[in-house]
Structure formats: C-alpha cells, structure tokens
C-alpha cells in the first residue's frame, strides 16, 4: 500500500466513531485526570487490513526460527546457567503482556479521543500476541531443554513464589487503580518506554551470547510492536499536559512508576543478565553500562528531560538515585545474592559463581569481591547436601532481610531501610520513595487534593508471613516445588544433574524453621524494635 493510500485509508477509518446521543459508554474505570476533547492524531495510522498480514509474517519468521532451533539442536549449546533463570522470567512475563491488553479499555474509557482509541485497540491485539507467543517459547524450552522441572509448573509457581509476586507488580500495576496512572503512566510512559529496552533488547542479546537464539527471535519480534505502544502513551501524555489540573497527578505518578519499575525490573533483569550469563568478556557491557545507555541516555535524557519544556517536573532525583543504587550501592548484586540465599523456595536452579565470574565482577564493579565474593565462595562450598544446611540456615554472616512493603523486593540496601507504622502495622520499606508510595501516593487524598480514583496496595504483601513458623520441607511441598520422584527439590544451588547424591531432597531441608521478619518485627517491644532496626541498618551483611 502506498503511503498516500495509507493516509487516505487511515483518514477513512477515523470516520467510524461518532458522538453518541442516546447513551454514553459506561465509565468502568475511574480516573482523577481530566481530559478535554482535543483533536489528537493517531500517531501510527495503523489499519487492520495491513496489520494482520504484517503480524502473520512476523509470526511465520518466529515459528521458522523455532523449527530451525530444534532441527539445529540449539540446546546442545545453551548454557544451563542462563536457561534456569528463564524459568523465572518466562513465568512472569506473559502476565504483564496480557495485563497490558486488559489495560487498553481503561485508557480508551479515560481518554475522549477516538483517534487514540484505534491505536490502543491495536495494542490490545498485540499484547494477546505477546502473551501467547511467550508462553509458546516457554513450552518449547520445557520440551527441549535438559531440565524441564520449573517450566512444568510455571504459571502455578508464578502465582505462589515470592519472586513471581515481585514481578506481578509489573502487570497488576497496569490494570488496577486510577485508569491513567495504571494504563498510561505506569504501563506505557515508564514500563514500555523505558524498561522494555532492558527487557526485550538487552536481555535477548545476552541470551544469544549464551547459546539461545530463540529468546532474541521472539522478543525482538515483540519489541517491534512496542514502538507503536510508546507512541500511544506519548499521545495521551500530551493530552494530559494540556490540562493544568493533571500536572500534580502526572508528577506523582511519574515518581511512583519510575521508582517501582526501577526497583522491580532492575532487580530481575539485572540479575538475569549479570548472574545468568557465562559470557565474561571484559568488553561485554555490564548491566550498569547497558542501563546507562538504554535507560539513562535513551529514556531519561532523550524522552523525560524534553518533557520539561511542557513545564512538567520530572523526577531527576529518582533517576539519579536509581543509578546510584545500581552503580554505587550494589543493588543488582544484592538482589542476586538474595535470590541465591532463598534458593530452596525458588523453582529454578542457581549456578554458583566461579573465579572467571569473580574476575569479571571485580573488573566491572570494583569492590565487588570485598562485599560479595566470600559469600559466593560459601554458596559454592555449601551447594551439595549431606553435611550442611542450605546457606540461608548456615552462619555465613548473612542476615535474612526485611521485605519492602511497596516494591516487595527486600530491603537490601540496609542503610536506606525505612520503618514506619502504617495502617496499624509496622512496615519496612527499601527506600524513602517506596515509603512515600504506600503512605502518601496510594491514598484517597494527595497533597490535600482528593484522589478518589487512586488505587490501594493490597494483598499479603510479605510472602514470608504466609509460612511463619513452618518447617522448610513443608513449605516446599506446599508450594509444589518437588520433582516427580516426590522427594527431590526442583530448586538446587548448583547445576550438577549427573549424580543424584548432589541433589537436595525434602529430607535434607526438614527440621528447619522459617520465619517472617515482619511478623517478628511487629511482635517486638518498641525498644526491641528500635534496637533491631538500628542494628539492621548498620549491618553490612558481609561474609567474613
């Protein structure tokens, strides 16, 4: 189709909407934002008669690559260290994708602009595509990778694992609460525009370096749809900026969405890229370097900062602090260490770090060994059962952390932890901003202004509380993270499948009591609590 006829065709389909006179569509999802009828153009002029064949062709290429990977025995060269993390990643990501589809009517209902509606409707179909194509990729991994355990329980494990819940924010955040906060600011302006770069571009590149060229095939195909979604979000943002009353809400939501996305996505993707790879070339970009390029330069400097010309206050301080956490405070390393500490309640295996890894980390993140090196040495030493307990239950100088009530990643930068009594309960937060998110942002008023549509933080937000006082073996059984012999655990702190004696079983973890730090915190006297919090913040948590 020529460009001219595309323009004409797109002009024609704008005639499809009309001004209703008998009844107006239900307002199912409320927003505190206000939009005037403003003539904004559909940025991408997508027409379904060209869209469907285009996507079919993209699909054919993906499926062709899948066939090729199987015929070419791709799994003879994939790194198990990498594939194991895919059990977590691919359990999480189809839900955010489908949630994005479900979010589209929230944006459509909130924004009175039929031209924008067309782009949002096409996005809905894209997101159904992404969710199911990713599930299919996981199915292929399950069928052809050496260890299917973890893939086989995928969506159940996503729903009951602490790590799945962390990831679930990147999905639930799209579909619940104020319609614009969720479906525009959190989903499109931040998650899609900023963080799909690391998710769908940086991570596939690392997959390829680890022998897996199917993840890049699928995710680059997905990413090629994202540019349209980014334009949808930008159009709505410009409409919102046209009304002065929205400024305060936009600034609130950018702070919340930026920080939550950083906390969640950098925790997960940073770990996958830094600790899931075997590619330790010195000139291979670290996650921090990728972040600086994809997030700081491409998003913050090229996208966010130019918004200042509209008078919007953008969260410079939080962008800088996110970078500070990644570069100076070891955020990603602390998260990886936490995932590995909690290995018995994971549904994937985590490979220990070797000398080659140590050298790379020290080169990329000077001072890494002093903080983390000896702990990973202990992890390796304790990786097999028989003469020791799982590392979390051995004295290696690592204190199990409190969980952040808002982002649900634990409070790993210990000196930054905030504790407060909120809604009648002592809660811990990883940072000032997460504290603000719960105490100030997700409330029915904001800076004295009623925000009746704003969502709430709900649910059993501290996973450990569900199992306070339980025996570790019973927890794992309850979670269903046991292999088909009824006793060997799905998670293992190593990749050694060659000898059954190296595999941990329920018997090896029985008799270990698991506790909820938050429950214990709430049981303390005020004096005990104060002393505990001070000691927590002061503890560098370094293995001697």
């Amino acid at each position: 189709m020529s460009r001219q006829s595309l323009t004409k065709a797109h002009q024609k389909i704008t005639e499809l909407s009309w001004e209703p006179t008998f009844a107006t569509p239900a307002t199912r999802f409320a927003t505190d934002y206000t939009f005037e009828q403003a003539p904004k153009k559909d940025p991408l002029k997508q027409i379904l008669r060209s869209y469907f064949p285009m996507e079919e062709e993209k699909d054919n290429r993906v499926f062709g690559a899948m066939d090729g990977a199987i015929r070419g025995n791709m799994f003879r060269q994939v790194q198990q260290r990498w594939m194991e993390w895919q059990k977590l990643f691919l359990s999480i990501i189809p839900f955010p994708e489908i949630s994005a589809a479900r979010a589209m009517p929230m944006a459509i209902g909130a924004v009175p602009n039929p031209q924008i509606h067309n782009g949002l409707a096409v996005q809905m179909i894209d997101e159904v595509r992404h969710s199911t194509i990713q599930m299919n990729l996981k199915r292929l991994y399950m069928n052809h990778y050496i260890d299917p355990a973890g893939f086989d329980i995928s969506e159940k494990a996503f729903a009951n694992c602490y790590a799945g819940t962390i990831g679930r924010q990147f999905g639930e955040g799209f579909i619940t609460g104020d319609a614009i906060t969720a479906a525009n600011v959190y989903l499109t302006l931040v998650a899609e525009t900023a963080f799909t770069n690391t998710l769908f571009v940086a991570m596939p590149s690392e997959a390829a370096a680890n022998g897996d060229y199917l993840l890049p095939t699928v995710f680059h195909s997905v990413q090629s749809d994202e540019s349209r979604h980014i334009s949808n979000g930008y159009s709505i943002l410009l409409m919102a900026l046209a009304d002065e009353r929205n400024r305060q809400l936009l600034e609130r939501d950018l702070r919340y969405a930026w920080w939550n996305n950083h906390a969640v996505v950098d925790a997960a993707i940073g770990t996958f890229i830094e600790y899931g790879t075997k590619d330790r070339r010195r000139d291979r970009d670290s996650y921090a370097e990728m972040w600086r390029r994809w997030i700081y330069d491409d998003y913050y400097r090229s996208y966010l900062i130019p918004l200042e010309k509209y008078g919007l206050v953008i969260p410079h301080d939080l962008v800088e602090e996110a970078w500070n956490r990644i570069w100076n405070k070891g955020y990603v390393h602390r998260v990886a260490q936490f995932f590995a500490t909690g290995w018995p309640v994971n549904f994937w295996r985590i490979d220990g770090m070797t000398d080659a890894d140590f050298e790379w980390f020290e080169d990329k993140y000077p001072g890494w060994y002093e903080q983390f090196g000896r702990w990973w040495e202990a992890y390796n030493r304790l990786r097999h059962p028989g003469s020791n307990k799982p590392i979390a239950f051995e004295d290696v100088g690592y204190e199990y952390p409190h969980r952040c009530w808002s982002c649900m990643v634990p409070c790993l930068i210990r000196e930054d932890m905030v504790a407060d009594e909120v809604d009648g309960q002592w809660r811990t937060y990883c940072s000032q901003t997460c504290h603000w998110t719960d105490k100030t942002a997700f409330r029915p008023t904001y800076e004295g202004r009623p925000t009746p549509s704003m969502g709430r933080l709900t649910g059993e937000r501290e996973w450990e509380k569900l199992y306070h006082g339980w025996d570790l073996a019973d927890i794992i059984k309850e979670l269903g993270y046991v292999r088909d012999d009824g006793r060997t655990l799905v998670p293992q702190p190593h990749l050694d499948l060659d000898d059954p004696r190296k595999l941990w079983t329920l018997d090896d973890v029985r008799g270990l009591t698991f506790n909820s730090p938050n429950t214990l915190l709430n049981e303390m006297t005020p004096e005990q609590r104060e002393a505990h919090l001070a000691a927590y913040r002061a503890n560098r948590n370094v293995t001697a």
Binding site: E55, A121, G177, R483
Partner: protein
C-alpha cells in the same frame, strides 16, 4: 580472511543441555502440570492460555497486590451477575491464540483484497443501478458504525473484566473481529467512492447519525456500550443483537438482495462479517452452555439470562422495526421484511433453545 583486530564476540560452547542428555528426577516432566487438560494431552491453546491470568481461588497465594479505591481487586467474579462453580472450565472452542488470530484475520483480509481487486478490474460496479449504489452508500455504509461501536466499546471493554484468561481472550478476539470488519466496510466504502461515479463516501455518517431508519440500531448499540456487567454485554450483543439485528441486516437482507441488484461484491464483504460472527457465536454458546449447565448455579444463571433477554430483546426488535423501510428501497426486492424477520426470529429461537433458555415473551410483542 583475517579477523579484524579488537573484535570481540561471545564464544559458543557445547553444553549438551538438550532433553534426554541425562536421566534424573523430572527429566521427562514435559507438560504444564498445573491444570487438567480437557483431553488426554493439552492443546497448544490450553498450554499458552491457562492460568496466565492468576486466580486467588487457584494458585495465587498472596492474593491480588493492587486494589481499586473501592476495595475491588484483580478480576472480581462479582463483575457479572452470572456465577460458576469453575470459571476455568470454559475453553474457547475456537482455541484462539496468536497464531490463529493472525492466520484467520490475515486470511480474511486477503480474501477481501482479492475480491475487491477483481471487482475493480472487472468494472463490477459499473452495472450497479443508481438506487442500489445509494443503498450501499447509506445503509451498507451505516453498518460499519454498528460494528465499530460494538468492537471498541462493548467487546474490548468487556475483555478487561471476566475472571479467566480463556474468557477474556475470546472476548478480545471478538473485539478485534468487529474492528477489522468495521474497517473492511469503511475501506470498501472508500473504494466505491473512487470507483462509482456519484458515490457519496460521506453519506454513511449522516445515515447513521440521523436517518430515522438507523436510529433504533444506533440506540441499541449505544445502550450496549453502557452495560457494565461483562456477561450481560456479551449476551446482549452476541445472543440478542447479532441474530435479531446483525444477521437480519447482513444475511437476511444485504446478502440476499445484492446479486439481484447486480452487485456480487458486497456479499463477499458481508460474508466476512458473518464468518467472524460464526466464530464469535461459537465461544458465546460454549460459555453460556457451561454456565447454564452449572450444577450449582445453572438455575440462577438461567434466571439472570432470562432477565437480560427480556431487557434486550425489545431493544433489538425496536431497532429492527425501525429498519423496516429499507427493505423497500432496493429496485430488486427478493424477500419481504417479514420474511427476513421470521428467519431472524427463527435463528434467535434456535439459539435459545439449544442453550435451554426460555424464549422471552417480548419476542412476540
């Protein structure tokens, strides 16, 4: 050839990490085992759809972690008056996932494109009587709005709300069909504006917005967009509006009379819409059959559905009655309005009877 100096690239390593390389516990556990497939082996559709939208009633132990201001969370079952002993028992008989969605719709797009190319080359529109061209520009044109309104504000809206991924995906695909078909009609209208002398490509808007014959249909569509209960929206659109109004117009009028008026192209476009509806009806029937046969809630669901039928049947019948004058507009009339309506009512009765639902008394008023 020499390697450029300083070039760095990852070095693949043979790892032997393929299935079957070793035997150990779960080394052959190669099915998603957290749901029970309908047949012995799970279909691709089940594998890529089941449990992607979690449910506190199944595996979601921490519950939904975000709530609306009124305390509702996730996908509340209260967002419809229908009840089910197991919402997850619904599987879309069309087994829609991305591959089927794009294959089907791309196939329809290609079919329409070929038909239109051929019609243009053959000069097919030149034989149209002026009165038929008028009928197409106004009435066939007006129908695009009905499809668009249902797609954008009924089905796309409803796919946020049902308690399982299987239902929401089926409804989402329904929405995509409607939008594509609306655009098919709009772009057909554009083609005709360029190919048929005197064809007014803007007449459809006036017809839809203010021609008395279309105001009943427009009112029906607009009222459907106000329905908050997703179950009611799907029933009122697919089990009432579609058989009584949609099929009546598309199949029992346009497709019957077009050829007699020298037009063999319009029925091929309308046929695409009927094909879409046949798929959409299939999931709708499966969904309501499940709910009406529900051991615990079947009777209550039948009552709810009965109330909805009583509410929406008169709306759609009123729309149909107001459409009646257009039956006499084409120069060649093959069938009377009453004949068309009888066929539509028969179809409607058949659908209800298959589901075991009582015929609303409003049907004979």
């Amino acid at each position: 050839m020499a390697t450029p100096t300083g070039r760095s690239f990852p070095h693949p390593e043979l790892t032997d990490a393929e299935a079957g390389a070793l035997t150990f516990p779960s080394s052959n556990s190669r099915t998603f085992n957290y749901f029970k497939p309908r047949k012995l082996r799970a279909s691709m559709y089940e594998d890529v759809t089941m449990d992607v939208q979690p449910d506190p009633g199944r595996h979601l132990t921490q519950g939904w972690i975000y709530g609306f201001a009124n305390g509702e969370r996730g996908y509340p079952v209260e967002w419809t008056a229908l009840r089910s002993g197991d919402w997850h028992a619904f599987l879309d008989p069309n087994e829609e996932w991305e591959q089927t969605i794009y294959r089907n719709n791309a196939g329809v797009v290609r079919q329409i494109g070929l038909n239109l190319d051929n019609a243009r080359r053959a000069g097919a529109y030149q034989t149209w009587p002026r009165s038929w061209a008028l009928f197409v520009e106004q009435h066939v044109g007006a129908w695009m709005h009905a499809e668009h309104g249902l797609g954008m504000h009924v089905f796309i809206a409803a796919q946020r709300s049902a308690p399982t991924n299987m239902i929401n995906n089926a409804v989402a695909v329904n929405g995509a069909h409607k939008l594509r078909f609306a655009q098919d009609l709009a772009l057909y209208n554009l083609d005709l504006s360029e190919a048929v002398p005197g064809f007014d490509g803007s007449a459809h808007r006036g017809a839809w917005q203010s021609e008395p014959v279309w105001q009943g249909v427009r009112e029906n569509v607009e009222r459907l967009t106000t329905v908050e209960d997703w179950g009611e929206a799907v029933l009122a659109a697919n089990l009432v509006f579609e058989p009584l109004v949609g099929e009546l117009f598309r199949s029992h009028l346009v497709m019957q009379i077009a050829a007699r008026n020298g037009d063999y192209t319009t029925p091929t476009i309308m046929g695409a819409g009927e094909y879409d509806y046949s798929r959409d009806l299939r999931y709708t029937r499966a969904l309501f059959a499940m709910l009406l046969k529900d051991e615990k809630h079947g009777r209550a669901n039948a009552e709810v559905a009965g109330e909805w039928l009583a509410r929406w049947t008169p709306v759609s019948l009123a729309a149909v009655r107001r459409l009646q004058p257009i039956w006499s507009q084409p120069p060649e009339r093959v069938l009377s309005f009453e004949d068309s309506l009888d066929r539509a009512k028969e179809r409607f009765r058949g659908l209800l009877s298959d589901l075991g639902l009582d015929e609303p008394k409003e049907l004979e008023r």
